[in-house]
């Protein structure tokens, strides 16, 4: 497993470096950064001062070296708005997003497992149709519109929930409900698909013939084996959650990293944006590694002992292991 994990780490590190480099180069490609930072009516002297102060008058290689040296020392520059270190602002906003994402994904996975298993018991039955319809709607509704609809109905008309902010448990309801919709829709279909396959396997028939109850079969025998595809998709969806977080946080005034990004874009605060992108990329990198570890925990065939046994023994067609080594 370790060689597999090492390869995955190297593979995931490539996008990380590419994104950070890409953002760095992009802003310098557009020409004079002082045009981005300074007001339109700035004088040439101001521009020259600005360039000298920030080192923009040096070669791009020197700048890149400085930037990466700074990143390694956790120095991500300072905010143009507040003069605060960008790293501090980002790290202050990060937990808020992490909490939001964690609660959303937890609820989404639970709900999707229930919905997906329910639908899989009778393919093309009523439950299956309801869940399919729900998934299709979830994929079609824009999250920002759903958020606004929620504010209009539950906050303004009924007055049950606050329109924005983070105080109190009620403030969590609308942001989480909005963020959850898409992951639940997609995951429910994935769980359904793999459950239908697993429930058709002979060992389920064996379990049934031994007199095991429906609940026991679904929970003990089927779900565990159906979990691997769902886990992969859940990982991708968590990465995609950042998209939703940007929208949802800026609508509900959630002081997370998505709102910080949009704010720093609208106010042209580049250092903060760059720091936020870097931290997000790092978080995604870490998430990918955790998902790979989760795979190993879930599927005994990927564990090191099993790998060793397989290497020693006769080659056996092993679908999951193949998928993993190919990836």
């Amino acid at each position: 497993m370790w060689s597999y994990l090492r390869r995955r780490i190297l593979q995931s590190a490539l996008p990380l470096v590419a994104v950070v480099l890409g953002v760095f180069v992009l802003v310098r490609l557009t020409g004079d950064p002082s045009k981005l930072y300074l007001p339109l009516n700035a004088t040439d002297q101001m521009r020259a001062d600005f360039a000298a102060r920030n080192g923009f008058d040096r070669s791009i290689w020197d700048q890149m070296g400085d930037y990466f040296l700074g990143v390694l020392q956790l120095d991500l520059g300072e905010s143009l708005r507040t003069g605060e270190p960008a790293a501090e602002m980002v790290l202050r906003a990060f937990p808020a997003t992490l909490q939001l994402a964690a609660v959303t994904m937890l609820l989404a996975v639970c709900l999707a497992v229930v919905l997906g298993s329910w639908a899989s018991l009778k393919p093309n039955g009523l439950a299956d149709r309801i869940v399919s319809f729900f998934s299709m709607t979830a994929a079609s509704v824009p999250d920002f519109w759903l958020a606004i609809l929620g504010i209009w109905i539950f906050a303004i008309t009924l007055g049950w929930l606050p329109t924005s902010g983070t105080t109190g448990a009620t403030a969590w309801v609308l942001p989480i409900a909005t963020l959850m919709l898409r992951p639940v829709g997609v995951l429910a279909q994935v769980v359904r698909g793999s459950m239908v396959t697993v429930l058709g396997q002979p060992y389920i028939k064996v379990a049934r013939s031994r007199g095991a109850g429906q609940m026991h079969i679904v929970v003990r025998h089927a779900l565990r084996n159906a979990a691997a595809p769902a886990l992969t998709v859940a990982g991708d969806l968590t990465v995609g959650l950042v998209n939703g977080a940007v929208v949802v946080e800026s609508i509900f005034g959630w002081p997370g990293i998505g709102k910080l990004m949009i704010d720093s874009i609208l106010q042209r605060d580049f250092a903060v944006l760059q720091a936020a992108v870097l931290v997000t990329a790092l978080a995604i990198f870490a998430l990918n590694i955790v998902i790979d570890l989760g795979y190993a925990l879930l599927d005994p065939r990927v564990r090191p002992q099993a790998a060793k046994r397989r290497r020693g023994g006769a080659a056996r067609p092993d679908k999951h292991a193949e998928v993993l080594t190919d990836a």
Binding site: P15, L29, M136, A139, S140, P142, F144, N243, V246, V277
Partner: protein, 322 residues
């Protein structure tokens, strides 16, 4: 076939003469038989017609302000037909604004989907056909783009370049290319190793002929389905960007931007953000339904699900004569 009697053969050869093997209807026939998919296609067609004709028909009306009749609720018909969906905070007809915005929203989405589909498919087929280093390099590039949330990538790029319609199209196209690239590569690589491609090669077919006659027709259905599905995604992405203020900029108008503009009047004029959002939902639902149908209709292994009724009728039409 043991009971290979004349009438069965006659029915089948008749059908074959009409160009279709054993009563297999074409895509159009299949579409018309499925009511849900047909209505989705009609809705989508209407949306496209609105997008094309809207700016011409409603261009002037969408800009006409009338402060006397601002924030009118929907069905304010006493002010004239143009206020059937109400008016916005400047007294402009919401119906005209939505029809006008359809041009921007659908135009940007369609252009982005077309660019990403064409570039991604060609690139993917090229990579899958040649394998080797071309394949690995292409896949790594796709990994890099896909590993980062696409909306975030668009946000960062639009920060650096100005958020004009052309740039939005480009950004959305770039972030969605990897999807087609991966799909086309996988399909092309799989087809490449199939027997009929080997056979064509042994018969001395040129590479261009193999690609155009054996690879492209087999990959195309998947890619068309993917593009339909992607249309929803890209439309939602464009709307999100416009909603956040980094997409389409005023005085241009798109559905996402209208939702954002109506947001501050939510308490007393809900229709200003809810109705443009509804337009987005209706269009994306239609595209999603159509994509789901296309996936079934273009997959030979799944197609029977749509033909089940038809096949029973075919069997019934042959059986009595036996």
């Amino acid at each position: 076939m043991p009971d290979n009697d004349a009438s069965t053969v006659a029915v089948l050869t008749d059908r074959a003469r009409r160009g279709r093997a054993s009563g297999r209807p074409g895509l159009w026939g299949l579409l018309l038989r499925d009511k849900v998919a047909t209505s989705a296609a009609v809705v989508l067609l209407l949306a496209v017609l609105t997008a094309i004709a809207g700016p011409m028909l409603f261009g002037e009306l969408a800009q006409r302000q009338d402060l006397g009749s601002r924030n009118m609720p929907p069905l304010s018909l006493h002010l004239g037909w143009e206020y059937v969906l109400g008016s916005d905070s400047l007294g402009r007809s919401l119906l005209a604004r939505i029809a006008f915005a359809a041009g921007t929203t659908l135009g940007v989405s369609a252009a982005a989907v077309a660019i990403s589909a064409i570039v991604g498919s060609i690139w993917g087929m090229w990579a899958g056909f040649h394998r080797g280093w071309r394949e690995s390099v292409s896949m790594r590039i796709a990994d890099v783009i896909m590993s980062f949330p696409s909306l975030l990538l668009a946000v960062v790029i639009l920060y650096v370049f100005n958020p004009s319609a052309a740039n939005i199209v480009l950004v959305l196209a770039i972030t969605r290319i990897p999807l087609y690239l991966r799909t086309a590569r996988a399909d092309a690589a799989e087809l490449r190793s199939r027997m009929f491609v080997d056979a064509a090669q042994n018969f001395g077919a040129k590479q261009g002929a193999i690609v155009s006659r054996h690879i492209v027709p087999n990959v195309l259905p998947t890619l068309v389905t993917l593009a339909t599905l992607e249309f929803c995604y890209v439309m939602l992405a464009e709307s999100s960007l416009s909603f956040l203020g980094i997409g389409i900029q005023p005085p241009d108008v798109s559905w996402g931007l209208m939702v954002a503009q109506g947001r501050q009047y939510l308490a007393d004029a809900w229709w200003q953000s809810v109705l443009p959002g509804l337009a987005i939902v209706i269009t994306t639902v239609a595209a999603n339904v159509l994509a789901a149908w296309l996936r079934l209709a273009t997959d030979p292994g799944q197609r029977w699900r749509l033909q089940a009724k038809r096949r029973r009728r075919l069997i019934a039409s042959i059986a009595p004569r036996r």
